[in-house]
Symmetry: C2
Subunit: 408 residues, 2 copies
Amino acid sequence: MIEIDAARLLADLGALRRFGAVGTGVVRPAFSAEDMAARRWLQARMQAAGLDATIDGVGNVLGRSRRSGPALLIGSHSDTQPTGGWLDGAMGVIHGLEIARSLAENPATAGLAVDVASWSDEEGTFAGFLGSRSFCGEDVAPLIAGAANADGKRLSDVLRETGLAGLPRGSLEKGRHVAYLETHIEQGGRLETAGKAIGIVTGIVGIREYRIDFHGARNHAGTTPMSIRRDAGAALIRFAHNLDEEFAGLADADTVWTIGRVALEPGALSVIPGTASLWLQFRDGDPARLRSMVHALEGLVAAHDREGRVMVRLTEHDLPSAPVAMDSGLQEHLVAAAERVAPRQWLRMPSGAGHDAQILAPHLPAAMLFVPSIGGLSHDSGEDTDPADIVLGCRVAATAVAAILRER
Amino acid sequence: MIEIDAARLLADLGALRRFGAVGTGVVRPAFSAEDMAARRWLQARMQAAGLDATIDGVGNVLGRSRRSGPALLIGSHSDTQPTGGWLDGAMGVIHGLEIARSLAENPATAGLAVDVASWSDEEGTFAGFLGSRSFCGEDVAPLIAGAANADGKRLSDVLRETGLAGLPRGSLEKGRHVAYLETHIEQGGRLETAGKAIGIVTGIVGIREYRIDFHGARNHAGTTPMSIRRDAGAALIRFAHNLDEEFAGLADADTVWTIGRVALEPGALSVIPGTASLWLQFRDGDPARLRSMVHALEGLVAAHDREGRVMVRLTEHDLPSAPVAMDSGLQEHLVAAAERVAPRQWLRMPSGAGHDAQILAPHLPAAMLFVPSIGGLSHDSGEDTDPADIVLGCRVAATAVAAILRER
């Protein structure tokens, strides 16, 4: 078991929280003044921990161990949602920092190389996963040229104004980086519900998003008999009900689907909706199940459209994201460390949310570890985790990191 | 059969259309400059037809026959929806004018008394049915004190600014007015679908409006397993589906129900809706069936609420309106006239929309006659009716009016 300095870990997390603090929450969107100040502070903390620390041309804070490697890369992000919590991303970054310095201070592990990263714009204020994509060698030039935030501010202008544009960009070092680890709050209620403290992530789910449009005929709700109506809203209700039944038959315990938005037009009590739309998102870790769900959805749209009264059309709302499996060898290391540090306090689970680990995973073995979110809350100022769980998660991760690096 | 002057009828309808004409539609909301100008024009047309015509203190244009009575009152309204069509209300008023002058010009019917009214604010720009309510002796003082239009303009100010406030208000004359007749476009597709030209209205439906709120828990759509969700949107879909099945079991061919508006909060694809609401309206001519539907709705709300995951609450959205039966004797007169003027071209039907006739009906025998709306369209600039049907409807009504008055 590897010891870490719990007080120092929590103090640094508390210090990072102050950049952009608003009540109990944090407002530190990518490339804001608060985000940039936090990144400079992080760089200094990495340097104090003996890492060679830089901020690169897309805003990544990269702390490189002076050990020759093989190196394990630990990362997450220090930017937040427009109104975010204090742990989403931040915890993983400070975990990385604490693990790097704890291992370096311990004579038994001082020879191991741990690099630490805080990726930029994970939350997609301008372009989601910008930092990790750049680091992995993806061509981010089109992203940078095209991206803007919700206020219309262009990413290319922001990179210039923050002085980042001219800086070199860090990248994955194939000979050096042997694995990637990211710790994160769960952002859901699964660990809490199960009464466990550690989640070992089996994979990051793939996401499909669709809009389904219903085109009927707008009419007077009093004078149009049911028999001649072409009610787009009623068609939507029937469709959504059937969809729920179909998906329930295809799902396993980890499959999720959500109708998060519905619109009926014109939205008046006395008017039969002429058009209606629903937005559907579904997630699963199994590419075959995702394909089955898409197939079922397409079949249902065709069947409801064939009924003829109301035209039904399916449109992709956003590009699909493929499920990404976490490395099984790394998972076994995390399991062994969890069983040692927190016996019977862990479980395996998918990540239902996206993380930088999904960008890294195609390039090197990657793994993730979760700690519980109180009440399952995230992307909210109420986001919190028991400090004991924050510390426990860091101990499990540090123990696994040492074991992984010793094996190389 | 009573003859009317088809060319004069259509010319007057066309003249009225020009007040507030916008494209093929009409924008003539109650007490607008266009509405007031149209009322003054109407008053002049009534005077030209030999009626004693006034505009009363709430804007009603009242044309009183100089015959002693018994008198039949024919009315409708000349105000429009914010963006309305050219026939909704207007046709009934001009029908009344044409019937009054045709009967007066015909020696065989010149002794019959027909009074004509254009009620104010039927469409509820400030206060729905203001004119007919006032005429029937309802206490409209609270309405006038409290009502304002969508821009916040107060009805009391408008009545003062238009010079109406100081004028005497007309009222039903018990000894004189023996029956009320209103002709109107159908505003639905029932006549067109059936291939008929005349609808004889059996009654005006009662209306119930409710909002049903679902209170669940907002959560991350990726990280919250289906098994622990409290998805307000999914609960709404299940409820709406069950409601449709329940109501279908209670309905007859004339019962209608509509979910015209739905809201999921916060309405994001990645967020499980924490709250959801639907707005439900249903209409039927049978008070017992309306009560059964309310009972079924209440039972369904209680049953879904008892499931416990998502709290379900029922709120009345608007005051209920009671169904109003049309006078059976007057209906028989309309049937006889229709069978004479347009054999086998008529059917009996309920009115699914509200009309001034429902305000008059508790006070004197009332009847309504419909003509087809092309494509069922109304409250829209595309609202239209075949001129042949406009003329036919007027002939049927005139024939019935003569028969009704001769019977007294």
